[in-house]
Structure formats: C-alpha cells, structure tokens
Symmetry: C2
C-alpha cells in the first residue's frame, strides 16, 4: 500500500486553517502520508496587486482569507484544480457550497478510484421533496467513499491553536482513522462517529438555530430565552434528521462537537446570530444587511430555513418543526419577530 | 379530596419570582388549589427601616430581593415558619442550601403527612463517600413525597415574564402534574420527567462547569474552547449521575432545560462564570473575590467542585472526571489555570 497523498480543495478562511493542520500532520505522520507536500487548490484572484497563489507560496500565508497565520511550507497553492488533485488519495472538500457542482464537473473521471474524500462544506442540497447531504453528492458523482467533518470550529480560533474539538462522521472506521490522523493535534481534538448524515446535517441546520438566537438577542429577552431556543432548536435538528435520514445517531446531536457544541458556538457569535440580531434592532431587510454586513454574501441560516420549509411543505410536515417554521416565517413572510416564542 | 394548599418556604430572589407564578396559578386553577392565599415564609429582617414582611404585604413587592416586580396580592409574607406551613399540602422549598437543615428541624413532625414537596434548592449534600440530593433529604426527614425543579432560570428574567423553560423531576406522575399546574404559564414552560435525581444533580453540578467556562473567558480562548468545555462538562455531569445514582435519565442532561439549557445559561452569565473569569483576569484569590463581588456569599461552583472531589477521592474515581478535577485543582490546589484544557 502506498502512502496517502492529500489534496485540499478550497482555500478560504476555513480551508486555509485546515490546510495548516494537514500540513503539520503530514510531516508528522510520515508512515501514513506522503510528506512531500499538501497541494491546496486556490481559486486564482488578485490581492494587493499580486496573484493569491504567489502570495501563499512565497509568504506561506493566505493574506486575503487567513491573514496573520503562518502555513507550513509544505502547503502549496495551486491554481489549477486538476493539477491540485493529481494522484491524490485523500481529498478534502472545503469551499462555499455553491461552487461544489462546478468543481465536481471538473473532477468527474479524473479522481483516483481508490481515493477517499471528506467534506467540510456546510449546507444541504434541497430539490423539492428531496434532500441530500454533500457527502452523498460527492460520493455518488466521483464514486469514492466520502466522510464529513463538522464541529464548534470558528476558523480563526482553530488557526490560532486555542483548544477546540470537532467531529468526523465516517463512512468506514478506516476512513475515520485516516481523517483523524490528518487533522488532530493536541489542541484540536477529532472525535469519530459512524454517522455521516448526522454530522453533515448538524452543520447545515445549526444555522437556522443561530438565526433564532440572534432574534432573541435582538429582542433583548435574556439568557433564559436564548438557552430555551437553543435547546428547542437542537431537538428539532435531531428530530428532523431522525425522521428523514436512516441510521442517524442521536449522539451526533446531543453529545458531539458537531451538535450541541456547534449550536453553542454559532449562537454565541457567528454571522447568522449577528445579522439576525441586527435585523431586529435595525429593522432593515435581510438583503440590505447581507450587503452591509457580509459583503454581499448570503446569510446561510435564512436560506437553509427556506430550503427546509420547501422540503417540509412537500412532505406535509411543517407543523412538527415549529421553531424552524418561525425562523422561516419571520425571515421570509413578514411574521413579526415578537411571535418567535409563541406556541413553542 | 380537598383542594391543595400551597406554602412557599423561602423568599429570596428565586423564591419571590416563583411565588409570583404560584400566586397567579392558584387564582387561575381554583379547581385544584385553595385560592385564598399563598403563604410565603420570610426570614424576618429590616430593610430601609421597616420589616421585610410588612413591606411585602403592604406593597406586594419584595423590595430587597426582587425589586420592581409586582407580586399577586394573594401572596402573603409570614415571618413564622410553622404558621406559614400550617395545613399546607404542597410545600415549595426554595432557600440557600445552608438553611435547609435548620428548617427541617423546625418542620419535623409539623407537616401534614399527606403533603407533598418540591425543592428548588441548588446543591448536593456530600459527607465523605456519601452523596445525597436535597429532595431525598427532605423526603426522608419529613416523610413526604418530594420532587425537584431545575432549569435555565435566571430569577429576574422569569419574574419579567420573558420566555423560559424549566424541568420538574417528579416522584409520581400525579405530583408532576400538580407542580406543573402550580408553576406553568404561557411564558414559563414546565417539562416533566420521571427523574428527581438527574434534575437535582444538574442544578448542582452545572456550577462546576460554569466555573470552567469562566476560566476559559478569563484566558481569552474564544467560543470554540468555551463550547468544548461546556460539552465536556455536560457529559461529565451525565456520567457522574449515571455512575452514582440509580435510574437517572440521560434526557435530564442532554435534552431537558435542567441539563443542556441550564449549562448554557450558567456559562453565558451568572455569578459562577463571572467570578471565575475575574479570578483569571484579576489574579486575586476566590475568598477576596467572594467578598468583593458576592457580598461575602460563597461561590457555589468551587465549593461543589470541592465536595465532588472529596467524594470521588473516597470512591477512587477522580480520573474519570478530568474537567471536574481541573476545576478543583485550579480553585483549591494552585494549579495554573492555563492547564485547564490539557489532557481533556
């Protein structure tokens, strides 16, 4: 058996933080990994008059998306996707979800059939009454075993090496151990669980809960209400996944970093919480706040709430998820935000 | 069957907040409760030149412990404990734990044998290798069925009627329904669970976790670390109760307001979190901070950590609870706080 060759597909804030860990571990575990280098695919753009790949490869810092953090020298930025994944046996998908489809179009047929993948992409793909996690989308398209990683992971904090945890939902135990080897450090604890769907869905659905928490903060209701909303949201997440996916494990929600801990982190800070709070306090529409506060990027939580609403409507199950429905109605149907807790 | 006669034993911040709910519900559910009045036992003291019972009975406000909140007129302050509980069939214990023993001495033999009780007292009684919840202490001493209530309940927020939840661990389902009738309002949701021990222990052990969260904030580690500590703490709470108590339900910790939600509230704000944060930032000993920040009152979390340490040492089980042990060692044994996350 040859050694594993890693490729990181995506180089934003989280992609750069995780590339740092991968670079360190590939050099450390030379029995498992090819230690020559960790290619990281970078969507080429100019930054301060220079190409971003050049900046990364010369300064070993992603000055645009993770400034101030030194990357190991074996992390090599590559602007060509096919070249970045050439011969790779361990693919790490870490990019905004809207770029995944195009990325898979390019990769289709060009990936080693014995490779395995892991996705760190947040979100789900909803088409009417169908819902798919990205691990399944990748696995189906490329024909390779795909796990998922999600947890209470603010990228900048992981990059600064403060104590953090995360959860890998693995497809096979062997895959799980490989991903743990690639990412775990003394201050970044990787827990393993046999539940790709649960871990993936936590990462998507927690953003709805974070929007609700932002509403509570905007209303000035206090910590009792906020904790209640987080608790109810966590249970709706669990309930949703148990209803619509097979073999989901309760622990992914109630005991793992992917569930309870990520809900906490997302509801304490994070963009979903902050923008939802501003929505209540500033009384401005979400598209205006997205422009102002997120540089025009979309606010994930309200879009996931809409996707989930469409899906639940098709399945005639809206009533079983009152908090998700409240977030949808407040965000998209002009329900007054003061109605949030009514009837929960 | 006669109607239930309620008595509230204790009139601090939480006692006054809960007396307000009881007063409202006794008037509302006249089929179940005697609606003439809700006696609340008040440890008599002078406040602003007047007796506290007189202030409460004239102004219908506990100006010392819950200022600014109107109490229903049927809540009547009584300075004599025996008189307050006379003929009562539903006793609500809500006082600092250090006053319970003396209170039980007075009540012993004077309580209706068909009465039932509920305790809202936080803490546990540890004597070497023995540990007891207060519901058991009350039940054994007075010979009456005793439930427990605990949840994400900052008293001032409950008093102001913002959306909150709580959990009643009941001794019998009938008792549970009675306590729900006494406390539940549209904005104060009472969940019932058949687990007196789990609910009681949550209320005691969460303070240790809140101290750990305060240490994290003092260290400036950020939200990933804080969420990780809260998650680990919640699991140690559950593990502890499952190891040392019979018939504890996992849900009390992972799904109920008593568990996950109260851990959240306590770690967001609350005195344990705040004083522990100051311990790190101001580098002053806890007894000095207790004097300065708590008016000389004891910080529950560090004392519970010590009780739990003594108990676990007797049982030779310290190693199974690394976070509890770290809180103990940092608080009482001069372990540097930066060691908090090491080896977790």
């Amino acid at each position: 058996m040859g050694k594993e060759k890693v490729a990181i597909i995506g180089s934003g804030n989280w992609g750069s933080a995780i590339a740092r860990l991968a670079g360190l571990n590939v050099s450390k575990h030379t029995d498992v990994f090819d230690d020559s280098r960790v290619p990281i695919w970078v969507f080429e753009e100019d930054f301060e008059g220079k190409k971003l790949t050049e900046i990364i490869n010369e300064s070993h810092e992603n000055k645009k998306y993770l400034p101030g953090i030194q990357l190991p020298e074996n992390v090599v930025a590559i602007p060509d996707l096919e070249e970045a994944v050439k011969d790779a046996t361990a693919l790490v998908f870490v990019m905004p979800h809207q770029f995944l489809a195009k990325t898979l179009d390019i990769l289709d047929g060009k990936v080693n059939k014995n490779a395995k993948a892991i996705t760190l992409i947040k979100g789900v793909e909803v088409k009417g009454a169908d819902i798919h996690i990205f691990a399944d989308v990748i696995e189906k398209r490329l024909g390779i075993s795909t796990s998922a990683l999600s947890g209470a992971n603010i990228a900048n904090e992981v990059a600064k090496d403060t104590f953090s945890e995360t959860t890998v939902g693995y497809r096979t135990e062997e895959d799980g151990k490989l991903w743990q080897k690639l990412f775990q450090t003394p201050n970044f604890k990787v827990q393993l669980i046999d539940d790709v769907a649960g871990v993936s869905l936590c990462g998507a659905l927690k953003n709805i809960v974070a929007v609700a928490a932002g509403f509570v903060d905007g209303l000035g209701y206090g910590d009792n209400s906020k904790a209640a909303i987080m608790r109810i949201g966590l249970l709706e997440m669990k309930h949703f996944c148990q209803e619509f996916f097979d073999n989901v494990k309760e622990e992914s929600f109630l005991q793992e970093s992917s569930g309870v801990a990520d809900v906490i982190t997302s509801c304490l800070g994070g963009r979903n919480k902050r923008v939802a709070e501003a929505f209540v306090k500033e009384k401005k529409p979400f598209d205006e706040l997205e422009k102002k506060m997120l540089n025009g990027q979309k606010l994930q939580g309200i879009h996931t709430a809409k996707d989930v609403h469409v899906f639940l409507k098709e399945r005639d199950r809206i009533g079983a998820y009152p908090l998700f429905d409240k977030v949808y109605q407040i965000s998209w149907e002009d329900l007054p935000v003061a109605k949030l807790t009514e009837g929960l």
